[in-house]
Symmetry: C2
Subunit: 668 residues, 2 copies
């Protein structure tokens, strides 16, 4: 069966035929080897494979069983426990949609999905309602009466997304039927005043919006898009104001202002970004310019004023939320793994909607750093929040020690990582809306096939990226009509890349660079080769001076990877000194480490550091860390030390020790 | 009636006769004019005077009335609403103990205290138990079964402290009888296993410990000290572990390790510091060296690694807690007003216990900055958390805008400010344990009388401190035997102060400087004068380089005051630029502002600032705030601007605008 007619290669965010988009996700990608193949193999064989056991241990499946049995007591865990099941189902479904999945595991996943789908169908009420928390723990509460905190629509959204993934991957309607009944029930329940539908409100946690649009795409029922659009418009006064700080404030769930008027991203980062993914989806389907402009404006605000170097977002622990502009504390970077995942999902929708390279440029950074740090190299344990700095002496203070953990009381992140990594091939390539360009957004060894210029084209991609900058592409099939191959050039390589076509530098007229896209238009033939080499020279990076947390510091990057220095890699230092006493000598440059004992076999980098000259304490107040002085701190003295930096995604895979992404620079 | 036998001049923390202390609070101080007199006048006539109305509006008094009437429904507010009443009572009682209090207000306060004391007596159960939350809202819960979160002992502690203050100030036993019945009930209830008392545990919120010691001092019943010592020893495994982060972790309430083994301050800052005040009190009464060493060690950790420049403590919003060493984010400084108050209370106890000047040195800073910022200049509104930085663009993000507020849902801070300011004269002077030295810890215009060298000495202090550095002291009464006048010299003035005795520089043998104390030993005569002039030259201050949040920055101080720059005082800047785009040129020095329109008539300072050169964004990623570069940021160009700085305590008394304490320095 040719790939073009297979249901495998299912991908998230499939705009409908008449949607207003610049690009379409019609490319089918396999990732067969290299960096992402390894991460995805571990995701499938460890993380996803463990899922059912973890969902059993944590009680999620028992809750659904109780709901199916009509029990009204014994509920375990947080109100949205069902969503962990739904996200695992979505992950398993995308994994089934990947032709590289091991057949034995595919069979196992098929069985488990079927089993869980039956459980969900059994638990679903005749009305279509399905939520084990309200059915088991709170049967006395009328449905959809506690929308600010109850997560009923959020939970429904994750079920719908799982169902869409399952149907796209397999054609099986078992979950889709449950989801459609639930969505129809929502459609009968929610609507504006005067619509005849009883409830005019929305969920405190966005998610239903993007789910409904995807359901409409899968089923062709555009009423779901209308309902999503209604929900989007409902934020901005949906809930009574309770306070001005933390989760009580309206902005926590983006309810402070109508979405289209929001000047900036704010509040709970996952809520904000799921909402924006929904906005991008609705704008895609309706073609509404104002909604698209809102999504663009808020993406820009997120990227330019509220993002960590890793692509992580969310500066506050208290409300898991965005901070003020340029407020990006490193020790308390919340940078929730789920928020990074949501940023990738939002970014991909914007990439399709606009065709602009910047969305996938940021998404690449987010994937390699802010997402991937959330799961251990062995796929077994997770981080929920992702600081960019762990201090010397943190062990003296009880608590707050970042540790990778097998599962969480609120276990949103682990199955979210599973579903993103399982669906990753869906984020790697697209075709232009006119059908004449094949766009490669992210680089991974494997195959890309897509309809281009009226025929099926197939490319083989071979690369050791991100460890090596060379990306080799070979045309394995093509039609006769000319078409354009668009290769995304990351911004850090835009001034320095090399291109070979069939082994030779192409003429200047044979290619064009357009705002992040390298465009090669020609008549392709089977056997043609293209080699793009990106600039993997390690580099120092500085922050906008308004990022106070990075003042006087540099970070180190190589390719898409942000690096960090971990205490476990430090050379011996004088007694009482640690990572926070070092400065980096940028003039000495950055080397490639020869160590082969780094976690996951990563390529390390080497830096020249020195012990900072500690200022003499005030003789009259040696107990006070501040002192009167008009002069700048003294330059460091003493011999340089060699520091080893490892990719940020690989940190905390050895003993927990201090860590820094931003390193004070000896040059200020 | 001579002052020495009057019950007026009541002060907190009065060690018993046989306590092991270096100093005793036997000085009686009035503050009649100048800075603190004005702040205390507003505290009495606005803040304290408004208290009963605020406690009525918020429901606190209704809760107690319901308890008195035996009602078991209708409770309003958080579980520890009673403590706001208790703290107001304590404030009113200290105010009554101040002979400068307006007689009409004193009569009004006496009536109100009597009325509230009758209400409390009516609400008290026959057992001695008294807590309106458990009596009205949770009558079905056995007492002291929810100690981790119930605040029963914390609430009892505040009642006991109010009763001690009331009895010390007036000799009236109305509150003391209620408190003693309650304390006796606690003594019958709590004890170690095998003691025959039914409950072997402690409160999740320390406070009872210091209260019980003070009650023992007031009543002479040393069993209360024993109970306090038992409670202190109970932390470190009192409660089941529930989590590793935030309020769920044991360290949140200092339960992670036995107190005497704690390596560092941690967890909820108010809990930690109330606990340490109790530790200092118990060490004072028992003479236990290990407990004293613990208090010293943790004070040093707090001061040297976990204090903001303002003296504020608590770096985390999530758990209102201490952060990791040197983790002191400016925008998210929690620096709760109550924590600063607790630090002053703890510090005073350490000052008495050890006789060391450093405790009052830090307390002065904390009082003028971290405490006083918590109440508006007009005494009408309050701040709960006290950031050191409010960003440009903060108004674009909904919520998290610091605003002074008339009262809070959890209104711990306002009455805490009231009681501290009402008792402030009690923190200003002491006598040495040998009775031969009169120690002046803080400077304020007024009188100080104390028994020294076997006779009553009286000093008149006249000063416009902190606006002027001259402090004039005149001996108005003294015995014939020589004694030592000890004047505390703040660390910032220790290398530069001037002294006149009877108008002339004293001989080098006439004085001695000893670690923060300027000691003048002589035979004093009535009419003798001493003039100490402290160095009020404004100064730049830098932080230990491990304080990442202040890297490359300076702050400005003058005397005990920390200054800040507020957006409302900025000169006109080019469009789109704001406070966060400025750097300070330290070489240009600091001037005294001639503006007379600053809030509260404060003395402003002037600085030379420049607009920072904004780095050119990466042409390939103008949406990204980071860029590859090996060079340090460019020096600012353009004309210098004059910036006005105001004392930090006076900020946010005009329209809410950006604010910075730490200002980037042009010199790095």
């Amino acid at each position: 069966m040719p790939p073009s007619t297979s249901d495998r290669y299912a991908t998230p965010a499939r705009p409908s035929e008449n949607a207003t988009v610049a690009s379409r996700p019609s490319a089918r990608v396999t990732v067969t080897d290299g960096f992402w193949a390894e991460r995805r193999r571990i995701n499938a064989r460890v993380s996803i494979a463990q899922g059912p056991d973890r969902l059993t241990e944590a009680g999620n499946l028992r809750n659904l069983r109780r709901a199916a049995d009509g029990e009204t007591s014994g509920y375990e865990g947080v109100p949205f426990m069902d969503t962990d099941v739904h996200k695992w189902l979505e992950a398993a479904a995308w994994q089934l949609g990947d032709p590289t999945t091991d057949p034995a595991q595919a069979a196992e996943l098929t069985d488990r999905i079927g089993e869980f789908a039956r459980l969900l169908a059994d638990a679903q009420q005749p009305s279509g309602y399905l939520n084990s928390y309200y059915q088991v723990a709170r049967p006395e509460v009328p449905h959809f009466q506690e929308l600010r905190w109850g997560h009923e629509l959020y939970t429904a959204g994750h079920l719908i997304q799982a169902a869409v993934a399952h149907h796209r991957s397999t054609g099986d309607r078992a979950l889709l039927d449950v989801a459609t009944r639930l969505a129809d029930h929502l459609g009968e329940t929610f609507g504006p005043e005067g619509s005849g539908r009883p409830i005019d409100s929305v969920d405190g946690h966005p998610e239903i919006e993007t789910a409904l649009v995807e359901l409409a795409r899968e089923t062709g029922d555009s009423r779901h898009v209308e309902l999503a659009g209604y929900f989007l418009g409902r934020y901005g006064g949906a809930f009574p104001t309770r306070g001005t700080k933390g989760p009580a404030r309206p902005g926590y769930c983006q309810d402070h202002v109508p979405l289209r008027e929001a000047p900036a991203v704010t509040g709970h980062a996952v809520r904000q970004l799921y909402l924006l993914a929904g906005a991008a989806d609705v704008a895609t389907e309706t073609g509404e310019a104002e909604l698209r402009a809102t999504a663009e404006r808020l993406w820009e605000d997120m990227a330019s004023r509220q993002s960590y170097l890793t692509g992580g977002v969310g500066a506050h622990h208290t409300d898991e939320g965005f901070g003020h502009p340029y407020e990006l504390p490193n020790e308390r970077a919340y940078a929730e793994t789920c928020a990074a995942i949501a940023a990738v999902q939002f970014g991909w929708r914007m990439a399709l909607l606009t065709g602009e390279a910047r969305y996938s440029d940021l998404a690449e950074r987010t994937l390699y750093n802010a997402v991937l740090c959330g799961v251990s190299l062995d796929g077994d344990t997770y981080l929920y929040d992702n600081p960019l700095h762990v201090r010397d002496g943190h062990a003296d203070q009880e608590g707050l020690r970042p540790r990778r953990t097998p599962w969480f009381t609120c276990a949103c992140c682990p199955p979210n990582l599973m579903r993103l990594l399982a669906s990753l091939p869906g984020y790697l390539a697209s075709t232009s809306a006119d059908g004449n360009t094949l766009q490669i957004h992210q680089y991974a060894t494997g195959t890309v096939t897509a309809p281009v210029a009226g025929a099926e084209a197939a490319l083989r991609v071979t690369t050791d990226y991100p460890w090596d900058g060379r990306i080799a592409l070979a045309v394995e099939a093509t039609g006769a009509a000319p078409w354009t191959l668009a290769l995304r050039v990351p911004h850090w390589s835009a001034d320095n890349w090399a291109l070979l076509v069939n082994g030779a530098e192409p003429a200047a007229t044979a290619w064009r660079y357009d705002d992040g896209w390298l465009l090669l238009h020609r008549s392709w033939a089977s056997g043609d080769t293209v080699e793009l080499t990106l600039d993997l020279a390690p580099r120092f990076v500085r922050a906008d001076p308004r990022v106070d947390a990075a003042r006087g510091c540099v970070a180190v990057e190589r390719g898409p990877l942000v690096y960090c220095v971990e205490g476990v890699d430090l050379p011996a230092l004088p007694e009482g000194l640690g990572l926070d006493d070092l400065v980096v000598d940028t003039a000495a440059g950055i080397g490639i480490s020869e160590r082969d004992d780094l976690p996951g076999g990563v390529t390390g980098l080497t830096l020249a550091g020195r012990v900072r000259a500690r200022p003499t304490p005030d003789a009259h107040a040696p107990w006070w860390p501040y002192r009167s002085t008009t002069t700048a701190p003294a330059e460091p003295e003493g011999e340089p030390l060699t520091l080893t930096a490892v990719p940020y995604y690989a940190w905390a895979n050895r003993e927990v020790s201090p860590m820094r992404v931003w390193l004070p620079s000896a040059a200020g």
